[in-house]
């Protein structure tokens, strides 16, 4: 074989390189890859153009019903204009509307409950099956096993579910605990009337808030913010009582820092001074016993020791409250999620009674309602066979059987401290119906999921819907009307073809001025003493865990929106790990450093892996944990982000409202 010369070898290699190069260039490949490069780096989505329109509407996100103007391009809604009147929820309406997680058709559980496997069914199928089930239960004398759970402020659909459950013959209709449901219990006890507490913030000249984080989603956020701006302009003094330096505490004119869980004691301490020093009296029943309680049990010295508020500060607060013309003492601790015991609410309301604000700036609010229900014999039998629990948590915790559960918009599996127990009840029930626009923690355990509308798809008092309903979703009220009109004996209570007949008028609120007040002195004395004992530090659980809410996330409803996630900073959630807040002195005591991962343990269980951020905005001995995280299922944006503190939070049920008072939980770092 001829030896290959070096020169020839180089020629061959050179030829191959030149040949390949030429071939490559002429093949067009370089231009193709350049094209890919350009597309990869410069690929831009261009939003569709169209005719621009502004449609006037009303935001249905809360009962406040702010006017909005929605900008539309062609058929698309692109922006909600709130003209300095709305809240973040109003701004997010388009994202709720176009959320990729929207449920498109009625769904039926295809696997075991909780499996997350659903199959599509038709509306007729779903409605007929549910209606038939209700019919059967009624005829079998098990009407009381039909249960309804409404979200707070459900509006028309809430009233319709209420009506459906009653007409079917069950007393078991409940509401997701909120300020309204909690204050309803307090109003019934102290003012002997139906309705929740209504504060006329725009007429008040002094605001004393007992842990009500008014600027953090409390009440109707839009109206609350407008009132706050009004206080600044009118020079209304705003004092906030809280253990944590929250946004509200800092925005207030004065922040009164208290030891955790002592708000009621503080109210009674102020009552003591109002009665003794300022001669404030109330014509309410049992005022004598109340003043005895306040004067003997809650002396300034004792209250100062209990709450950590200095006596002079206490006197000053009482003086300001007494000298204001229309002061309001606000109760209902929390922001979007509220938790206060009925006795705490009563203690704060007692201040309003002493100041003469009851009936003037503190009133009672009720809904007009839909009128009386026509009960047939099955319904009468059902209603007489069982009694109602006082609240949702009490019902879940009880042994009461639920065979058919309809959940309208609420997410109690996530929100309630009894979420786990509710899952058991839902698994035992033969039919669980969840009505919601997005799949959530609760819907996972449903047999049927019925898609409901987002706010912009609803007809409002301002006119037709801004956007025609997407997919096969219908108004929650329409689902309920369709079910009801398929049941003999129930349908006569549902003369309406659809929800639009109810849009104007029925949901409007009635505000009553009621100044009468009954001081539940005996119960207050007993309950508050017990609460003091149970909230005191123990050697097993020395730390107090208190909730707080993150901007936009609130109690968890906002977390499914990606623009909300954009607002989270690096001491709230990083790499899907939740952060809790702690005072550096507490951290020293338990040898915890900034950013360290710890487990929190209460008598109910353990929360694994939360990171600690050290800040002096938190009282020593307190751990502040954000609410709203740790969804097990709530669209891809909110699922598995952080942990849900409700799992280990206090679940002691309030004897009046039947709702767990989860505000303060004793925990340890483990």
């Amino acid at each position: 074989m001829k030896k290959l010369e070096r020169k020839d070898f180089l020629k061959m290699v050179g030829g191959a390189v030149v040949g390949t190069g030429t071939g490559y260039v002429f093949s067009g490949a370089p231009f193709q890859s350049l094209q890919w490069l350009v597309e990869w780096t410069q690929d831009q989505y261009t939003p569709q153009q169209g005719e621009e329109k502004y449609i006037q509407s009303i935001c249905n996100a809360c009962p406040d019903k702010c006017s909005i103007s929605v900008r539309k391009i062609g058929d698309r809604a692109v922006k909600v204009e709130t003209s300095n009147q709305g809240c973040p929820m109003g701004q997010s309406l388009v994202h709720v509307l176009y959320h990729p997680g929207r449920i498109k058709t009625p769904l039926k559980q295809a696997g075991k409950k909780g499996s997350g496997k659903f199959e599509q069914v038709s509306w007729d199928d779903a409605v007929n099956t549910i209606a038939k089930k209700i019919d059967t239960l009624r005829k079998d004398g098990k009407a009381a096993a039909i249960v309804g759970i409404n979200e707070s402020h459900a509006g028309i659909s809430g009233m319709l579910l209420d009506r459906l459950i009653t007409a079917a013959g069950s007393p078991n209709i409940y509401e997701d605990p909120c300020f309204c449901s909690l204050s309803k219990a307090a109003v019934e006890l102290t003012q002997n009337t139906e309705g929740s507490i209504y504060y006329d913030f725009d007429r008040a000249d002094y605001i004393l808030s007992f842990g009500a984080r008014l600027l953090e989603g409390w009440g109707n956020a839009g109206a609350m913010h407008r009132s706050f701006a009004g206080w600044k302009d009118r020079g209304v003094r705003f004092v906030h009582v809280d253990t944590i330096c929250t946004r509200t505490a800092s925005a207030a004119d004065q922040w009164v820092a208290t030891k955790p869980g002592t708000e009621a004691a503080l109210a009674l301490g102020i009552a003591n001074i109002l009665i003794r020093k300022f001669g404030k009296r109330s014509s309410g029943a049992q005022f004598g016993r109340f003043s005895e309680l306040a004067i003997n049990q809650y002396t300034p010295a004792k209250v100062s020791e209990l709450t950590g508020v200095k006596q002079e500060a206490l006197e000053q607060l009482a003086k300001e409250f007494a000298s204001a013309r229309r002061p309001i003492a606000v109760t209902g601790k929390g922001g979007q999620g509220v938790s206060s015991s009925t006795m705490e609410m009563a203690a704060v309301q007692a201040l309003n009674s002493l100041a003469g604000s009851l009936g003037s700036v503190v009133k009672v609010k009720t809904d007009k309602g839909l009128g009386s229900v026509k009960l047939d014999s099955y319904a009468k039998q059902g209603l007489s066979s069982a009694s109602k629990a006082r609240g949702l948590d009490e019902f879940i915790a009880s042994d009461a059987k639920a065979d058919l559960i309809i959940i309208n918009g609420a997410n109690p599996v996530f929100q309630s401290t009894y979420g786990k127990k509710l899952i058991e009840k839902m698994k035992e029930a033969s039919t669980v119906v969840v009505i919601a626009p997005l799949l959530n923690d609760t819907a996972m355990y449903a047999d049927y999921v019925l898609p409901s509308l987002s706010s912009l798809e609803m007809k409002t008092e301002a006119g037709g819907p801004v956007v025609t309903p997407r997919f096969k979703a219908i108004h929650a009220g329409d689902s309920l009307i369709r079910i009801a009109r398929n049941i003999d004996g129930v349908k006569q209570s549902f003369p309406w073809k659809n929800y639009t007949a109810l849009v104007s008028g029925t949901s409007s609120q009635v505000i009553k001025s009621i100044s009468s007040f009954t001081f539940p002195a005996k119960m207050m004395s007993k309950e508050l003493e017990e609460a003091q004992k149970s909230s005191a530090p123990t050697s097993d659980y020395p730390l107090a865990m208190l909730p707080y809410e993150i901007t936009l996330v609130g109690d968890g409803r906002g977390l499914a929106l990606p623009y909300v996630l954009k607002g989270l900073n690096n001491t709230v959630l990083t790499e899907e790990t939740l952060w809790v807040l702690m005072n550096p002195s507490t951290a020293d005591e338990y040898s915890v450093s900034e950013g360290e991962k710890v487990d929190l343990e209460s008598s109910r269980g353990e929360l694994d892996n939360v990171r600690v951020h050290l800040t002096k905005t938190i009282a020593p001995g307190v751990i502040a944990i954000p609410l709203g995280f740790g969804h097990t299922a709530y669209t891809e944006y909110a699922t598995d982000k952080g942990v849900n503190p409700k799992e280990i939070m206090n679940n002691k049920i309030d004897p009046v409202s039947g709702t767990a008072d989860w505000w303060l939980t004793r925990v340890k770092i483990s």
């Binding site: 831009q44 989505y45 939003p47 330096c245 509200t248 996630l565 690096n570 905005t617 891809e636």
Partner: protein
């Protein structure tokens, strides 16, 4: 330089700001902010407006409960440099491709499609108000339906920032011209964040107009500019101030923060306050 017709500026009353986040949502919606699967990932996300939480708990002497928190909506501060008549923000002079410039309205513009992604402007920005698209801006699923056609969408590898919603400004001008109004000074507008703010903490207007609310607020004792300690010298030592600005170009932002709280004044202004 063309004659300045408008000098759009903003004043934000931090004592009225509750940190509710409405401005941030409105901004994101109006400016087509990208949506990633996990926007809690701080390194990846793109926003024009940050509602920053600030607190004085880092002070050595701070003790619970003598602490405060406040919220500070931070966007592009629209700097103009030492001479408002001839604006020279720090980011503009470093841009090699004139992707960022100052118009006759005082707004520091940014043209996404012209940007080559060198990030000089981002490095020169004193306020970290500019964001780089490290990833291709995604708009997951049906969220695309809610996008604003007036706002173009940036590519991967470009710098973006708040432009005081100049797409709204442009639309208002177009509308005026279509109606036969050619006097630009007759046209006003409001950026998305300002028109959403539920407490009226944000005020927007023309700083050239002495009667506008924003001009009035910018001259208030409560007004400060973000980390702009040279402002102190202007009052205390005008001679030294003149010397300093002759030597160096200061950012001179057109966004003013208002507060009566001493700690917040010191934190924002970056200098100790006597009052």
């Amino acid at each position: 330089m063309a004659e300045m017709k408008r000098r759009w500026g903003m004043a934000i009353d931090l004592d009225k700001c509750t940190g509710c986040g409405t401005c941030q949502i409105a901004c994101s919606q109006s400016n087509n902010m990208p949506i990633f699967q996990d926007d809690s990932d701080i390194a990846k996300r793109v926003t024009f407006l940050d509602v920053m939480q600030v607190t004085n708990d880092n002070d050595e002497n701070a003790q619970y409960p003598d602490v405060k928190v406040a919220y500070l909506p931070k966007m592009c501060q629209q700097c103009e440099g030492n001479d408002p008549e001839n604006p020279s923000p720090p980011c503009v002079s470093v841009c090699p491709v004139v992707a960022t410039d100052v118009g006759d309205d005082g707004v520091v513009s940014q043209i996404w499609s012209r940007c080559i992604g060198c990030r000089y402007c981002q490095a020169s920005c004193p306020y970290e108000a500019r964001v780089f698209n490290w990833w291709k801006p995604e708009y997951e699923g049906t969220f695309k339906e809610s996008m604003n056609p007036d706002r173009s969408i940036a590519s991967r590898g470009t710098v973006v920032k708040c432009t005081f919603c100049d797409h709204i400004w442009k639309k208002e001008r177009d509308k005026a011209i279509a109606n036969g109004v050619t006097d630009i000074n007759a046209v006003t507008y409001t950026p998305a964040c300002v028109s959403a703010c539920p407490t009226g903490a944000m005020v927007f207007g023309d700083l050239n107009d002495p009667d506008s609310e924003v001009s009035r607020l910018s001259k208030s004792d409560r007004a400060l500019r973000l980390l702009h300690p040279i402002d102190k010298l202007r009052e205390t030592d005008p001679e030294l101030y003149k010397k300093r600005i002759a030597m160096k170009n200061y950012p001179n932002p057109k966004v003013y923060y208002l507060t009566s709280q001493k700690w917040l004044k010191e934190m924002i202004g970056g200098y100790k306050h006597s009052s």
